[in-house]
């Protein structure tokens, strides 16, 4: 075994170890824990690379089969078996990659039974499954030729398979033509989502032609790589022939690509200096123009290095083409960009590594390359030997290689595990913004309880000005005295609380003073302020209920240690003789903290221990709704029957008014809110959020799509 092969295998095993660790988390904790996929970016690296590029990279199988068996160019026969093996493993890798990407991977077989005649994806699924079967049959002879399987029955099967070669090859070509192009057809339904430089009516032709060229160049690359690792001869003349064929196909591809863009009149976008233009130029140059030009020269075609460079260019460029179509040139709302997480990368790389190891496994044991001999038989291997005087780990030297590979995999898995979210994805924290007080007036204390608003204390001066000068559509007839210029001036101002914990603009207006008055003045504080921080008398809700949805740990252990004189103080909470020092066995908080506990609150604090405060929303609803329900029951004559219903506090009209006045914030409604919007997107929305524009987030976001304005849609 050569050193370079052992080193390669060690690296591949390490990556497989990483893959194993990520897989455990992926399949136990779900897609969300390891990917950056979202509703706005449902197709990421696993589709763009593992499926789209994987299928294209495996195109060498049908191209070489056609070359040798249909066009009769027998001198390429030596490349056929490795190409079939690559295709077979490649398609198997696609299926495995798909398992990672499917939300319900155990339903991968559904297309077999549940036919959906109008779906392109259905055609792709069926073709890939059938072609994988065809490839299995095409490669089966190589396995059946192994001496271990030299049985009479299997020899019969081998004969039949060899006779069926031509029908199998034809089936393979038909199926490949169908799905290589259909992978492009998938994007025909996305004229508004795919950048015009990539969207095309002939995208399926482009996908097919590029797959043919890529297949040829993949055979070249793989032949050069195996020559390097297995130290066998390079068939330069045949490689040059493949290179010339690839060059012709690449030029056809370039002509089709550019001609299509020119006919649609968007060729100019390639050189308009935009990011997408540059990407297009780089991709076309890398995948086709540079390698095709290089391979026009006979000297390049007949040199190992020249063909290696050309093949590496085409392979990486065509992979970039598939990634562009499915990721980079796919337009998304601003703030919902997509970049693969390291786990996604690790899975893609790991699957490739695993199948590369399988490739090596087959090459070492079967007759794949005509001039690579099978691995030495076990009799020729070094003899095992134990040395009882020095044996340390009970294993002799002959296991050095397996020991090294399994060790590498273990190390890879351990390092990956260290960074993986083993407990599942952590919930995005949503810190609560405490209620802000605004100046306003309660006009009517009756059941309607309408408030007029003046935002004297709101954080943005601009918003205050606008509030004072703008007549809001929803305010007429209700806010009789709110703004300068309206019919009556504000008469008796009071402080209202603007409760909007998550700052989504849907605030609840809470008349703190009126509640206090109704519930009995200063003695009523304790009804709501059920638990106060030690030095305070009426701790605001958000001091403990710090997260909008999650409960928060409010007990500070370190602070208690410091306050209770270090280690000597432990016994004050963890009594001597207690078996386990835990939350459950500690002294009750209320034993020391007598003062801060309200005696008759609406919602009592947990009887004796209160380390966790529930989420803000939960706490607010619990408090308000409980009290409202109770008051309606006690005084049905005084309050309307719907006092405990949502609308009492969450007044839709008022929320709309508040929303108009709030400074622009992220109001995206898609599933994964971005950490911070790009400046351009924020500005666009601030302008669009004026009183006369009620643009939905989606509408205002669409306006910010790059290239959307100049798009020439069919």
């Amino acid at each position: 075994m050569s050193d370079r092969l052992t080193n390669l295998k060690t690296i591949l095993w390490t990556l497989v170890g990483v893959l194993a660790a990520v897989s455990v988390v992926r399949f136990t904790r779900g897609l969300g824990s390891v990917t950056n996929l979202s509703d706005a970016a449902p197709w990421g690296l696993w589709i763009g690379f593992d499926v789209m590029s994987g299928v294209a990279l495996a195109a060498g199988g049908f191209v070489l089969a056609a070359t040798v068996h249909i066009f009769g160019l027998k001198r390429y026969h030596g490349f056929l078996r490795p190409a079939i093996l690559t295709a077979w493993l490649g398609y198997a890798a696609v299926a495995v990659g798909l398992l990672y990407d499917l939300g319900l991977p155990w339903r991968i077989w559904h297309p077999i039974l549940h036919w959906q005649h109008r779906s392109v994806l259905f055609e792709v699924a069926l073709c890939v499954m059938l072609y994988l079967s065809v490839l299995t049959l095409e490669f089966a002879p190589a396995i059946l030729e192994h001496p271990l399987l030299d049985k009479r029955f299997l020899r019969g099967i081998l004969r039949i398979l060899k006779k069926a070669t031509i029908p199998l090859v034809i089936a393979g070509i038909v199926l490949s033509t169908l799905h290589q192009s259909s992978l492009g057809s998938l994007f025909l339904i996305t004229p508004y989502r795919l950048h015009p430089l990539w969207y095309s009516h002939i995208i399926y032709v482009l996908f097919f032609v590029s797959a043919v060229a890529l297949g040829l160049m993949m055979v070249v690359l793989e032949s050069l790589l195996s020559a390097y690792f297995f130290r066998h001869e390079v068939h330069t003349r045949e490689l040059a022939g493949l290179g010339l064929a690839a060059s012709v196909v690449l030029w056809i591809y370039v002509a089709l690509r550019l001609g299509d863009l020119a006919l649609r009149g968007v060729l100019g976008m390639a050189v308009d200096g935009s990011w997408h233009g540059a990407l297009f130029v780089a991709e076309l140059g890398l995948s086709a123009v540079i390698p095709a030009t290089l391979m026009l020269s006979r000297r390049v075609r007949e040199s190992r290095a020249g063909m290696a460079v050309a093949a590496a260019f085409t392979v990486s460029g065509m992979v970039l083409y598939r990634l562009d179509v499915s990721i980079f040139a796919f337009l998304r709302p601003p703030g919902f960009g997509y970049h693969p997480s390291w786990e996604e990368l690790a899975v893609s790389v790991g699957i490739v590594s695993a199948f590369a190891l399988l490739f090596i496994f087959f090459v070492e044991r079967l007759k794949v390359y005509e001039d690579v001999s099978r691995r030495p038989r076990s009799e020729d291997e070094p003899k095992p030997s134990y040395d009882p005087s020095t044996v340390r780990r009970l294993q002799p030297r002959t296991l050095a290689a397996p020991g090294r590979f399994t060790g590498a995999a273990l190390a890879g898995a351990a390092v990956a595990l260290l960074f993986l979210p083993v407990r599942g994805s952590e919930r995005t924290p949503s810190p609560v913004v405490a209620a802000r007080s605004v100046e306003g007036e309660s006009l009517d204390r009756g059941p309607a309880r309408t408030h007029a608003l003046v935002f004297a204390a709101l954080d943005s001066a601009e918003a205050v000005t606008r509030a004072r000068t703008t007549a809001l559509p929803g305010m007429t007839g209700r806010s009789t005295g709110a703004f300068p210029g309206s019919r009556a001036p504000l008469e008796k101002t009071t402080l209202l609380l603007l409760v909007d914990g998550n700052q989504d603009g849907y605030a609840v207006l809470f008349d703190h003073e009126a509640h206090k008055e109704r519930l009995g003045g200063d003695t009523s504080c304790v009804m709501c302020h059920h638990l106060n921080l030690p030095p305070e008398a009426n701790t605001p809700c958000a001091s403990c209920h710090r997260d909008m949805y999650d409960s928060t740990q409010v007990f500070d252990h370190a602070q208690h240690i410091a306050a209770l004189d270090g280690n000597e103080g432990c016994v004050q909470c963890h009594a001597q003789g207690v078996k386990v020092k835990s939350y459950a066995t500690s002294t009750a908080c209320s034993k020391c903290h007598v003062e801060p506990v309200a005696t008759d609150p609406v919602i009592p604090a947990a009887p004796d221990r209160w380390p966790k405060a529930e989420g803000y929303m939960e706490a607010m609803h619990g408090l308000c709704v409980t009290c409202h329900k109770r008051e309606v029951q006690r005084h049905p004559d005084k309050y309307p029957a719907d006092l405990a219903e949502c609308g009492t506090c969450h007044d839709a009209d008022r929320a709309a008014q508040l929303r108009e006045l709030e400074p622009a914030r992220d109001r995206a409604v898609l599933s994964r809110p971005p950490d911070g919007l790009p400046a351009a997107g924020r500005d666009a929305r601030t302008e669009g959020a004026g009183p006369d524009s009620h643009g939905t987030p989606a509408a205002s976001a669409t306006g910010a799509f790059p290239g959307a304005g100049g798009r020439q849609t069919p």
């Binding site: 134990y386 009970l394 296991l399 898995a413 386990v580």
Partner: protein, 233 residues
Amino acid sequence: MSTWLHLARGPLFWTALAFMVLGLVRQLGLTLWETARVYRRAGDKDLPVGRVVRETGSWLVPVRHFGKRWPYSLTTFVFHVGVILVPLLLAGHVELWRAGLGISWPALPNVVSTTLTLLVIAAALALVLERAIARASRALGRFSDYSLPLFIAVPFVSGLLVMHPTWNPFATDPTLLVHVLSADVLLFLVPLTKLSHMILFPLTQLVSEMAWHFPPDAGSRVAETLGKEGEPI
């Protein structure tokens, strides 16, 4: 400090635990695989399996083997009892398993745990001293023979101090961090050092037996003697 503790009790701990379990499985697999290969090639396939099992069993409780150097044997025995029992059966640890995985088992009374912990610490020191004092064992001793017992004592000393804060001259949280971190490192070390005998011990007798059947370079020497060099054995 709380971030470090969180890291040591969370990702570092489960990574170390997984590394230990998988690493031990790997060691076991490799050893069994090679033993099977050796057995397949051995000319004399008559393995005294019964004796191997009996010997393994008798060394498990080695009272019978206490000989002239009984203090050393006794120290080792006490050390092993404490090292195995305390981490698994300490009430606080059982509570952690219950909180984390929802499974629990009976715990030792804290007095017993504390006594065993003190014995482990004393035994670790004694092991090192005894090895250094006796000339024969000093000659055989490697660096790991001295460093491992001392390193194993670290989580026991820090654990003892966490259990009994009034004995602890240091602050609680840093002591706890030392305890958890040293235990994490120890878990990592298990499959990499001779600590892996915790899973390989049933094989030591078997492997010695195999080694007698297949002395170093046996095949080539036999072939040499028979004048059949280069032929398959």
